[in-house]
């Protein structure tokens, strides 16, 4: 039987102006999580808060999430101190289909880089070649830069202000790739919806599969309540769609199926 876990926060370090990396001890979640999955974290508010898994360490039985402060719940979770015990449900949702990927292009924006970091590490383990592109508003919003640079075969960073990396968006980085580089690649993208939409258009245009991670307001997180629906094209019917559950059928979808 699956259960709700009580996880102990063992580390909490600030990563940039508005987000922190929280490491929790919870062997089951550490063991089972796969890149793209998320956990649902309790706070004093009524509903749990979903966060993508950033990393796991099955030896120490820990996993981590990157938490950006956007409202009261995330602020409260971000301010937890080591020793705090929190109820966590997870890992939840589906995951990136990494098995058959020959080459991976990962494109993250903002907090999207946290879940992508997990995918990057797993790709490294599996000796899959990776191009990692991350975009931020400015240098003080950037995070996980050194780690991701170290883990990827090619690394690019962009910022709206230009104070770090390429001035512009992740699209400006993507446009710099040549055919040799992107040929045969699978694209993974996590970040603001408009970014994922642009990335997937780019990928689809050149015939690449692109997997995106959708975000919806959630309640149960496990597929029972149907509040978190994403419009997904019905198989073989481009102009029909059905409402799939972000939490259980997603959060990872093939961009070709997504009705943006």
């Amino acid at each position: 039987m699956k259960k709700e876990h009580r996880a102990e926060l063992i580390d909490n370090k600030s990563m940039n102006s508005d987000s922190s990396l929280l490491v929790f001890r919870c062997p089951e979640i550490a063991e089972e999580s796969r890149p793209g999955q998320f956990v649902n974290v309790s706070c004093s508010k009524f509903l749990k808060r979903p966060f993508g898994v950033n990393d796991t360490d099955s030896i120490n039985g820990t996993f981590s999430i990157g938490v950006r402060e956007v409202g009261e719940g995330s602020a409260e979770i971000r301010s937890l101190e080591p020793g705090a015990l929190v109820d966590v449900l997870g890992p939840l949702g589906n995951y990136f289909p990494l098995e058959n990927a020959k080459k991976l292009i990962m494109v993250g924006g903002g907090t999207g880089v946290y879940p992508l970091h997990f995918a990057l590490k797993e790709a490294r383990k599996a000796n899959v070649q990776t191009i990692y592109i991350c975009g931020f508003r400015c240098v003080s919003d950037s995070c996980l830069v050194d780690e991701c640079e170290a883990f990827s075969d090619r690394f690019m960073i962009t910022s709206d202000t230009g104070d770090v990396g390429i001035r512009g968006t992740v699209m400006d980085a993507l446009y710099r790739l040549n055919e040799n580089e992107y040929n045969d690649a699978t694209v993974l993208s996590v970040g603001p919806e408009i970014m994922m939409k642009n990335v997937s258009q780019w990928a689809e245009n050149i015939g690449l599969d692109c997997f995106v991670s959708l975000e919806r307001r959630m309640a149960c997180g496990i597929g029972m309540c149907l509040v978190c629906t994403c419009k997904i094209k019905t198989k073989n019917h481009d102009d029909l769609y059905e409402n799939k559950r972000c939490c259980a059928d997603g959060p990872i979808f093939n961009s070709r199926e997504v009705v943006w």
Binding site: E4, F46, L47, C220, I222, M224, V227, T229
Partner: protein, 306 residues
């Protein structure tokens, strides 16, 4: 000591029923809890044709509660009968099918379909209270006369036990409950969600793209308790309590208020193991307090001054 309850002609392993729309058809929850001591499970609200439900954001968190505007997303009754009913029947708990129609004709046609599977269906729950669809449902459920007509109509064509799920968005739930009883209901379920709204001040938009939604969770418990008590005082048929139950103490409050069984909705969404925890706690409570049967406390509320 057991938690078994007899209501009408049926027995239930415990008074804990999983409320419609908060556990889909039970598949997901079956990975978290065992159904053996669960009293019953209500299907997601079903309609004659498949429904996509409402577009856009469908949930908003509120103080001690939440608004939802799912709008009866469901695969339609035929798909359900072919693909989900067998699973529900396999759960070794009472199977309650929740149906919602645009108009009386819808309810009739769905009931006819269910009649063909009456061996697998313990209870037909008429949803006259969904606040998230434009026609039928809550419109019918706001009028004692329409309730009476509809329930009598359905009653005349089925022998499946009939529960009527009432809306709290009325001036007098005693009146709507009585109408359901007079129409031939075997029990009423009180309450469905209260119609509410949440607003995003930055965009000056309702958070729910349906503009309004149904309020559930502990916030509504005092209203639900009052309504259950009102119903139980005027009815001769049983009342199934629902609204904001989070723990075994809440269950006891509803039973004392007059509920013979309770439905748990939002709590299961917040903590999937809630139904099982509640059952464990109720077992402990009845043992410690030497309560032979939980049914002994149903309706024991001693009102002041009467």
């Amino acid at each position: 000591m057991s938690l078994r309850m007899s209501v009408g002609t049926l027995t239930f392993e415990s008074p804990i029923i999983l409320a419609s729309g908060t556990c889909n058809f039970g598949r997901e929850l079956s990975e978290y809890i065992s159904f053996s001591r669960i009293g019953g499970i209500c299907s997601k609200g079903l309609t004659l044709s498949p429904r996509l439900g409402n577009p856009g954001c469908r949930v908003a968190e509120t103080p001690s509660g939440m608004l939802n505007s799912v709008g009866l997303q469901n695969p339609g009754i035929d798909y359900f009968l072919q693909n989900d009913l067998d699973f529900m029947s396999s759960l070794s708990t009472r199977v309650i099918v929740n149906v919602a129609g645009h108009d009386p004709d819808d309810y009739v046609r769905m009931t006819e379909r269910l009649n063909d599977h009456s061996d697998q269906i313990d209870i037909l729950e008429l949803n006259l209270s969904c606040p998230n669809v434009k026609e039928g449902c809550m419109i019918i459920g706001s009028s004692p006369k329409e309730i009476f007509n509809l329930v009598a109509l359905v009653r005349s064509i089925t022998s499946i036990p009939l529960w009527v799920k009432l809306t709290p968005n009325v001036t007098s739930i005693a009146d709507t409950a009585l109408a359901a009883q007079e129409g031939g209901a075997d029990a009423v379920v009180a309450i469905n969600t209260l119609l509410g709204m949440a607003i995003d001040i930055r965009s000056a938009r309702p958070i729910l793209q349906n503009n309004t939604g149904g309020l559930s969770g502990p916030a509504i418990k005092p209203i639900a308790l009052r309504m259950v008590n009102e119903c139980s005082r005027v009815l001769s048929i049983p009342v199934v309590g629902c609204g904001g139950i989070m723990n075994y103490k809440d269950v006891l409050e509803f039973l004392i208020a007059g509920a013979s069984l309770v439905e748990i909705g939002t709590a299961t969404m917040v903590h999937p193991t809630t139904p099982e925890c509640i059952i464990n706690d109720l077992e402990k409570y009845t043992a410690e307090n030497h309560i032979e049967s939980l049914s002994d406390i149903v309706g024991t509320l001693k009102l002041w001054g009467v």
